[in-house]
Amino acid sequence: MSLTLFVIQSLNGLQLGVLLFLMAAGLTLVFGIMSFVNLAHGSMYMMGAFFAASLYSYTGSFVLAALLLIPAMLALGLAVEWVALRKLYQRDHLDQVLATFGLILFFNEIARIIWGPSPYYMDVPEFLLGAINLFGVRYPAYRFVIIASGLLIALGCYLLIHRTRIGMLIRAGATNRTMVGALGVNIVMLNSLLFALGAVLAGLAGLLAGPIMSVQAGMGEPILILTMVVIVIGGIGSIRGAFYAALIVGVVDTLGRTLLPTLLRSFLERSSADIAGPALASMMIYLLMAVVLAIKPKGLFPVHNS
């Protein structure tokens, strides 16, 4: 593999990682702080993509669609939290899994009723078509924008969590929820806000993914599984962990897909390599997760609760 190709593949991995981070950040906050298992997070991603595609085709402006998407996702997040999830915080994880799995089915069906069973059209905005030149390497402009905006949002999250009062409460809540509540903080409100924030982040991931991926009912599940892997590797409840783990998973997955088959061919027979390569590549991140769990059961960057 040439150096150029390696750089491009690393950028591709970075881009997938950034997308995963947007998903993982919201999920890990809700999971880590409220101890709430939310399988419907992928549905927020899907709804974000559908909203964005509709807003884009309606307004004709990608930027406007992005701006309108934020209040829309905020509203959706608050509504879901208020209608369905609020009652589940005190229940055990199995109930939460069951209920949020129900939500997945609900949202997939809603999306199918509103937007139809076929994938929905959403193109890259015109001003982001084409490629940019990064030190002699040509890379699609839109994918570069995904990387840039993902990193910006990650920075925003960092500042929010570590530099603001709300962030302080969130961190405190993650460590000792009861104590924070006892100090007079409205923990119910904090939870709603947190959940809505997660929905917005997932929605933004949907917006960014919409033009490069097929916008369709059920698009949230494959990415949800990857997101879970990210959270487990990074450490539950840790934004920093989610960030690093997302990048690791993105890069490992992408490079695994491209390097492994080539690597196997160098010492295996062609036909066996062609069978083993893709199979191994698709297992890479799960193997990684297994290894991490074996060595550091709490993830690579756990929240320090002591």
């Binding site: 193109d123 490629a131 490069i212 991926m213």
Partner: protein
């Protein structure tokens, strides 16, 4: 859409005519009693990323029934719909339910090959007439063929033999081949290679339902082929073609695809797919009377162009209709029904249609281009493809 209830309502209207029908029966006339509707089970992938394909199959099947006031071949039918979710185990559950508790007479549909592989044997072993309208994995066309199974589509290899033939006809010397890593994907590549006379630079298998192909696209660019051949049905195809276009390749590096850009994915791709070449058993502009009325009726009913999945399923409904008509709705004499099905005495939207000895059709394929039409991007059949080398599945099949 609750057509399943239709026959029940219809029965009320039928009651007064029952006496007359009984009389006819005594007199030895052949009028059918039509008292109990024929139960047809439909199994398809109706949810998840492959859902649009199954939905097309279902919609077209129901369209044929609607056009005939709830009947097929003059016999009232009742359709029980099951979603296999693209999971073989769920497919087996669905088949078991249709066979054991619904006691259906006929099963049709099936979108993906892995589901087909799981349910083919239980259904045909139960001696229930099984009309597949999409998936055609090689084993069931060859040594595991069954007298009870008929296909209105193709065997997986055939689709790609047509694709390989097309690539040869177009004169591309070096092809880069990509497919999803499952049975149909593997079949795709072997079928393609059978009829492609040039050189395959590389064959790449990707995960089923992989959302992002950026890594593979970068890889194929580096390989510098003359053209690229892909097999990515459903949402996978949307992802791939979008990303291929965004990498600036569509229009520059010819993209030949099968089951990737079709009626089910074109609405999501629109002009993004213009310039792609496909090999397909069907396109809405195929010129025959049956197809003209089908396209018109389908667009009117569902407000979208019919895909090949829809076309094949519509053919399945009409095949069933032709058989039911021949045996007068009486399914007890299985031999007679099988002979009636085998005769394939119906007008196919694909053009000439007859069954080979393995009950797979000997029907035409076309080069279909994605062009900018009056109402946006559309699929246009250009020239027929003459497949030179066929896999000899019919020879491997014990039925002669």
């Amino acid at each position: 859409m609750n057509l399943a209830n239709l026959p029940a309502r219809r029965r009320r209207f039928l009651r007064p005519s029952l006496a007359a029908a009984a009389l006819c029966g005594i007199l030895g006339a052949t009028a059918s009693f039509a008292q109990e509707p024929v139960k047809i089970g439909f199994i398809g992938t109706l949810s998840g990323p492959g859902g649009a394909l199954g939905q097309d199959q279902y919609d077209a099947f129901m369209l044929a029934i609607e056009q005939n006031d709830g009947k097929l071949g003059g016999v009232p039918v009742e359709v029980v719909r099951e979603d296999d979710q693209l999971k073989p185990d769920i497919g087996v559950q669905a088949a078991t339910k249709l066979l054991k508790s619904e006691k259906v007479d006929i099963i049709t549909g099936v979108t993906f090959s892995n589901v087909m592989m799981a349910i083919h044997k239980p259904i045909t072993d139960a001696k229930v007439f099984f009309i597949g309208s999409n998936a055609g994995p090689a084993p069931i066309a060859g040594k595991n063929c069954s007298p009870y199974f008929f296909s209105t589509s193709w065997d997986n290899d055939m689709l790609h033999e047509a694709g390989g033939q097309l690539a040869s006809d177009l004169g591309y010397k070096n092809m880069y081949v990509m497919a999803a890593n499952y049975q149909a994907g593997r079949d795709a590549v072997s079928g393609f290679k059978r009829d492609y006379t040039g050189n395959v630079i590389d064959e790449v298998y990707t995960q089923v339902n992989q959302p992002d192909y950026s890594a593979e696209i970068a890889q194929l660019q580096a390989a510098e082929p003359d053209a690229v051949y892909v097999f990515y049905p459903g949402g996978m195809g949307v992802n791939f073609v979008k990303q291929y276009r965004q990498a600036g390749l569509l229009g520059k590096l010819p993209l030949i695809s099968v089951s990737t850009i079709d009626g089910s994915t074109l609405p999501a791709l629109k002009s993004l797919a213009v310039g792609a070449i496909t090999s397909a058993p069907y396109a809405p502009n195929i010129d025959n009377a049956q197809n003209k009325q089908f396209v018109e009726a389908f667009v009117k009913a569902y407000n979208r162009q019919p895909s090949m999945y829809a076309a094949q399923s519509y053919d399945a409904a009409n095949l069933i209709a032709s058989a039911l008509k021949k045996v007068d709705g009486k399914l007890d004499n299985k031999e007679a029904v099988l002979a009636a099905l085998k005769a394939a005495d119906f007008d196919s939207v694909r053009g000439a249609f007859k069954f080979d000895s393995n009950h797979f059709p000997d029907a035409p394929f076309y080069r279909v281009d994605v062009v900018e039409g009056a109402n946006g991007a559309e699929l246009q059949a250009k020239t027929p493809i003459v497949i030179k080398t066929r896999a000899n599945f019919a020879q491997q099949c014990p039925m002669k």
